[in-house]
């Protein structure tokens, strides 16, 4: 385990050198949040209106938190390095190293988001407080409960993205599958809370990564309840186990398809 900690620490230190570059990403985040603030401003005709049980402030905070997770968990390692390693044959060298490749990638990914996410969290708080106002009925203790959920959510997200990237063992370009997963998370997960969909779809949505990656952490911050907390935590643990299983399976099966052409 120590070797993964060393990998994690080195990526963390490397990313600390590029905080200005990360901060440049705030521009895109701000534009997107600005669009959603305007959109929900329009959708809520009168102050105090409720949509799917959310006030305007709760709805905007929900979108800001899910977008924060989305932006904070962006990683070139899982999106570009894995497919490039597989396609380019570099993986032939990496599988011989004294580490397990998927965990090596996961350690690098963790080092990346550990810098990005807190930076986006600060920005979210600043934008939220200045442009929307405080989260209604928010208690700081909620944040303590939500942090493990955010960590688990981001890890599950990374795990699924690695799984999709590993499809490059079979198909040359895994990007189209990344787009679909991204859109599932973005369109269904970050923009709307699950409650906004027809009740008949709720059980299905709870089975998708949306529930554990975006909805869970954001819901706990804007509208905390102990039952919901336990339910989300349980779902995340299950998802983590399933994600781990799929990742192992894909890596083992994919590794067998590896051809070493020399050179």
């Amino acid at each position: 385990m120590r070797k993964y900690v060393v990998i994690y620490r080195s990526v963390l230190m490397e990313n600390l050198q590029y905080t200005v570059n990360i901060a440049m990403g705030f521009i895109s985040y701000f534009f997107i949040i600005f669009v959603f603030i305007n959109l929900w401003d329009y959708m809520y005709a009168a102050p105090g209106d409720l949509i799917a049980g959310y006030t305007k402030e709760q709805m905007i905070w929900y979108v800001m938190i899910t977008e924060m997770i989305w932006f904070g968990a962006r990683s070139t390692t899982i999106r570009q390095q894995v497919p490039t390693d597989i396609r380019g044959g570099n993986i032939a060298y990496l599988v011989n190293k004294p580490y397990w490749y998927p965990l090596y990638i996961l350690a690098k990914y963790t080092g990346e988001w550990n810098i990005q996410l807190p930076m986006y969290a600060v920005l979210t708080t600043v934008i939220g407080v200045t442009m929307v106002g405080a989260v209604p009925n928010f208690h700081p203790v909620t944040l303590l409960a939500a942090v493990p959920c955010i960590v688990l959510g981001v890890t599950i997200h990374g795990m699924f993205k690695i799984c999709i990237s590993m499809l490059s063992f079979w198909i040359e370009d895994s990007n189209p599958f990344q787009w679909l997963y991204d859109k599932l998370i973005l369109v269904v997960g970050t923009i709307f809370p699950v409650e906004i969909f027809p009740a008949s779809l709720h059980p299905i949505l709870k089975l998708t990564p949306i529930y554990t990656v975006c909805y869970g952490p954001a819901k706990l911050i804007v509208d905390f309840s102990v039952e919901k907390y336990l339910e989300i935590l349980l779902a995340q643990v299950l998802y983590l186990a399933i994600g781990c299983g799929i990742m192992c399976l894909l890596y083992e099966k994919g590794g067998r398809k590896l051809y070493v052409n020399g050179g």
Binding site: L39, I51, D173, N175
Partner: protein
């Protein structure tokens, strides 16, 4: 003069043709990229179905106008990235000194750079735009306007990307800033202008070219307005001229990295 223009156009067309042929070497990947991009865009229909269930209109747009907005945004974005994809990675060429191979060619430098890459998935964007236009808002007269505004939108998108990309000739981090600004066009032009007010609205019509790329064209397609049409063309001319001017001014500052590169 006319022969020179004709030759240049021919070279550009050949360049795009060979880009596409290169992408088609792996047919499965080529088709997957196109189809999945269309499917990817279609997921946003879910978003609008939900929003329009909550209210009859969003910013004055019903489903028909929203789809028209999406069709135009997707097709102009697609056309821009099919013909001029390299503009979107221009900072990489500038920063890493990769412009040398274009500078020595006996043809227009800017056009050679612009047409040297094609984005396969952009074909999916263009087809998706045309498809949803035909499904949701088809009229013969509107189709002609739609095709015209697809071209103007693509030129505006390219000109804005060129302007932002050319900043890399002067500033170190302009690459990231430019990318985010170009990305902001996509963030804004798929949402109705009616939800923006005040300064934001002013910026969208004057600084970020979203207003002239999609908002005015959609208004014109819904209800023809010659004054708005003139504004679109005037803005198109000004932005394109500014982008070309900035690129060539910046090119004077370009320094090679002595990178050996061959263009096939």
């Amino acid at each position: 003069m006319l022969t020179a223009v004709k030759n240049q156009v021919r070279v550009c067309a050949l360049s795009v043709k060979y880009n596409v042929m290169r992408e088609m070497l792996n047919k499965v990947t080529f088709l997957t990229n196109i189809l999945f991009m269309m499917f990817n865009n279609a997921t946003f229909i879910v978003q609008w179905v939900i929003l329009l269930r909550l209210r009859d209109d969003v910013g004055g747009y019903t489903m028909r106008e929203v789809m028209l907005l999406w069709a135009l945004a997707a097709s102009s974005f697609g056309l821009s990235r099919i013909l001029f994809a390299r503009v979107f990675s221009l900072p990489d060429l500038i920063i890493n000194g990769k412009l040398d191979s274009y500078l020595v060619q006996p043809k227009n430098v800017l056009l050679s750079v612009m047409t040297s890459e094609t984005n396969t998935s952009a074909i999916g964007d263009l087809l998706y735009g045309l498809l949803i236009f035909c499904v949701f808002c088809f009229q013969v007269k509107r189709l002609l306007l739609f095709l015209l505004f697809t071209v103007t939108g693509a030129i505006l998108m390219t000109a804005f990307a060129l302007l932002m990309g050319s900043l890399s000739f002067w500033f170190v981090r302009a690459e990231m800033f430019g990318n985010h600004m170009v990305g902001s066009v996509t963030s804004f032009n798929t949402y109705p202008d009616g939800i923006f007010r005040g300064t934001a609205r002013f910026l969208l019509y004057n600084v970020i070219p979203v207003g002239m790329m999609t908002y005015h064209p959609v208004h014109i397609m819904v209800e023809f307005d010659a004054a708005k049409m003139l504004m679109v063309f005037g803005y198109l001319f000004l932005l394109s001229a500014a982008a070309v001017f900035v690129f060539y001014r910046g090119l004077r500052r370009y320094s090679s990295s002595s990178l050996m590169e061959a263009r096939m």
